[in-house]
Amino acid sequence: MLLDGFGAALSPQNLAFALIGCLLGTILGLLPGIGSTAGMAILIPLTLALDPAGAIIMLAAIFYGGAYGGTITSVLLNIPGEGESAITCIDGYQMTLKGRAGVALTTAGIGSFIGGTVATLALVIAAEPLSRLGLKIGPPEFFSLVLIGLALLVGLVGRSVLLGIISATLGLLIAMVGIDPVMGMPRFTFGDPHFFDGISYVPVLVGLFGLGELLATSGQAAPRPTAPTLRELIPSRMDARRSAPSIARGTVIGGLVGLIPGVSSAISSLLAYSTEKKVARHRDELGTGAIEGVAAPETANNSHSNAAFIPLFTLGIPASPAIAVLMGAFLQNGITPGPTLFTEEPELIWTVIASLFVGNLLLLLLNVPLVSLWTRILAIPYSVLRAVIFAFIVIGSYAVSNSVIDIYIMVAFGVIGFVFRQVGLPLAPLVLTLILGPFLESALRQSLQLSRGSFSIFVDRPLSLAFLVVAAVILLASVFSASLKRRAGLPTDAEV
């Protein structure tokens, strides 16, 4: 069946749709604020004239391309296109400053390919049991899982625990803005409906990273990115050896978290990055341009995006906004996604699944050669590039919800990002809590509604209890190892 699917997916026509989709997606993804979701929604009318398989193949390709476009701007310009590549900015941009932009992009491409392919293989082999696994994560389990993420935060705090906690708290505070999810009352909104949904995190991240960097490099002595030579594009054997385990971990983390419907892939990349900070061999180098800091999150978010197809095909649940748009495309073509697809439309479904493999491969084939083109952006004189970047981030922030307020938010956080750099506050904890915060709050309050107010729900449910134990072990281990090292006069984990 899958072979027939490959036959159809590899037809010149469908291959062309996949190619166009990847390119369009990548270009849309380059602009912060227009992610793959909006890109797909806008381009759906274009696909209506195509046959169902062609339309879905093209949209899926836009979806992949969009995610990769965000990586390009994160690495080269320190502008996170979407939440899922925000954490990549930290080490990706440092690599760019060291002239290793090409290696970073190539590794991200390879990692995405591996993560995506493995997740799609999982879809072929074990979609049904895996989707049941995803359903086991109810609100209490999810709360405990997010707590693991926060426990890993200790690894991200940088050279001072205090500065790290300041950064993390600020992230949580920003996440508090908006309508209370259970009482329905507006919080910290100044009565302005623009803030009722909370502060959208794209302008915040674009400001902190992109504008913050522009401001910080206004001085004379600041390091400027340089374009790598052709030879510098290819990862060395050392790079390969270092990124392989990170890609493996990223694949697993993204693949598992992607099974939980409604969880953004930003969570996967954050968990993957935090895990690297804890277990990677060269974890001390993370934050200064380590390849692991690009390989793990980029693999994880692609693995996540592909795993998110599993709940769609088995349960008919659109697991992410992007997949919901894709589901809309299915419906417009008269197809209801769900397990019945395998019996009713086997030809189509296997073509689509085969095209997921093809799409991942195309993205790799398309982007690795294009890496040299993308990195040439850095050859633009920095004084010119700076102006282009500024225009870019202003438009991108506006595009999030067609609102000028988001531009102001971006500028305000640009200033905050600048201050962070001046006083040495780490950005990673803020990114982590900003994105995890709302998920943590919803999960906590839904759990308490389920249990009618009893906290025992978190320990009564075995999976939740297991996650809590893991979180506690991580936390205790970091505290313990830090104090041991301090006693031995060694630099602690937390000192980067």
């Binding site: 270009i27 329905g184 349960l315 649940i317 697991a319 438009i395 067609n402 839904q446 509604q449």
Partner: protein, 336 residues
């Protein structure tokens, strides 16, 4: 040579930027003096208070495409996804009432944002001139496939005998599901506790399928994939008439309980828009929706076509507002 790819990239980037900026461009400079007979003499902006790709957006884009042909002008959809459409409604209320700014209107959001004082809305029912109703999507009640409940009556009886024991999903405080539970309590004395998933129907569905919540409340259109997958048993629809999508499912009205809750989507201009203009657009939408091919298109994406002209829509709006303001204290009381 070296700069060629760069130049291409720069041109492509600039072109994209312009296109996107163009998409977002509002047709400024409304001239109030222009007579209604010339309408439309320029492009119309259609505000949508939700993200691109959602059901409201999908329905609006379908209409926009056809409206362009009917009115022979451009109809640009602008997404203002914020605060359950409140941002879009505020903008609509403040827009020039010249027929060139229209907005998608969804119930209950257009009603609840007005009734709930904590939201501080700068508009009310009188700020808008309803144009046409497009979609009515009633709330359906689903349970696990192996549940002992088969009909609305089974559910109501159990909830009467065991008040507060059953739990049902909502998509947030003040959502139609939340109002549905309030009305169920008022009309049938059936007490079911809400669990709010303000983070969306996907989360609600997942929690239900994982066995965390007894009852899934969702729009009829959202149920179809779940029914096909064998994940749910739909036991009742909260409407006066059976849904064409679920002809075998009993309604609560049939079961003798006056519970009618739906989410609906239509379009409105700002108040004081010339009547002829409202009528012209309302009729155009009516003609579009009469076309069987268009109906087929809407049905395919799970949108139940339900046209009402400007006058009928206005009456429906008033009626729904009255119903919700009656239920609001019940919804709010439970938040204490």
């Amino acid at each position: 040579m070296k700069s060629t790819p760069l130049r291409i990239a720069a041109v492509a980037g600039a072109a994209l930027t312009l296109t996107l900026a163009g998409c977002a461009q509002t047709d400024g400079g409304a001239s109030g003096s222009e007579s209604a007979a010339d309408y439309p003499s320029k492009g119309i902006e259609l505000l949508v208070g939700y993200d691109a790709g959602g059901p409201t957006d999908t329905g609006s884009r379908l209409i926009a495409e056809e409206l362009e042909k009917k009115l022979d002008t451009s109809v640009t959809v602008t997404n203002k996804p914020s605060a359950n459409s409140q941002v879009a409604y505020t903008e609509l209320a403040q827009a020039e009432p010249d027929g060139y700014t229209m907005s998608a209107i969804t119930f209950p959001s257009a009603i609840v944002t007005v009734l709930d004082e904590s939201r501080g809305a700068d508009y009310d029912r009188d700020s808008f001139a309803p144009v046409a109703l497009q979609v009515v999507d009633p709330t359906a009640v689903a349970v696990a496939p192996d549940s002992e409940f088969d009909t609305p009556e089974d559910l109501v009886k159990y909830a009467q005998e065991n008040p507060g024991e059953l739990q049902a999903t909502t998509t947030g405080v003040g959502s139609n599901e939340h109002f549905a539970l309030a009305q169920l309590k008022e009309a049938a004395d059936a007490d079911i506790a809400p669990v709010h998933f303000a983070d969306g129907s996907t989360k609600a569905t997942t929690a239900f399928l994982g066995g965390n919540v007894d009852i899934l409340l969702a729009n009829v259109s959202d149920m179809q994939p779940l029914i096909d997958a064998g994940d749910v048993k739909v036991i009742g629809v909260m409407d006066a008439e059976r849904s064409p999508f679920l002809p075998d499912v009993e309604t609560f009205t049939e079961a003798g309980h006056d519970v009618e809750i739906s989410s609906s989507r239509g379009f409105a201009f700002p108040a004081d828009t010339p009547e002829e203009v409202v009528e012209e657009v309302s009729d155009a939408i009516g003609e579009i929706m009469e076309d069987p091919a268009f109906e087929e298109k809407m049905t395919q994406v799970g949108l139940a076509p339900s046209y009402k002209d400007a006058e009928e829509y206005a009456a429906y709006w008033d009626e729904t507002e009255a119903q919700f303001s009656e239920l609001l204290p019940l919804v709010q009381e439970e938040q204490q």
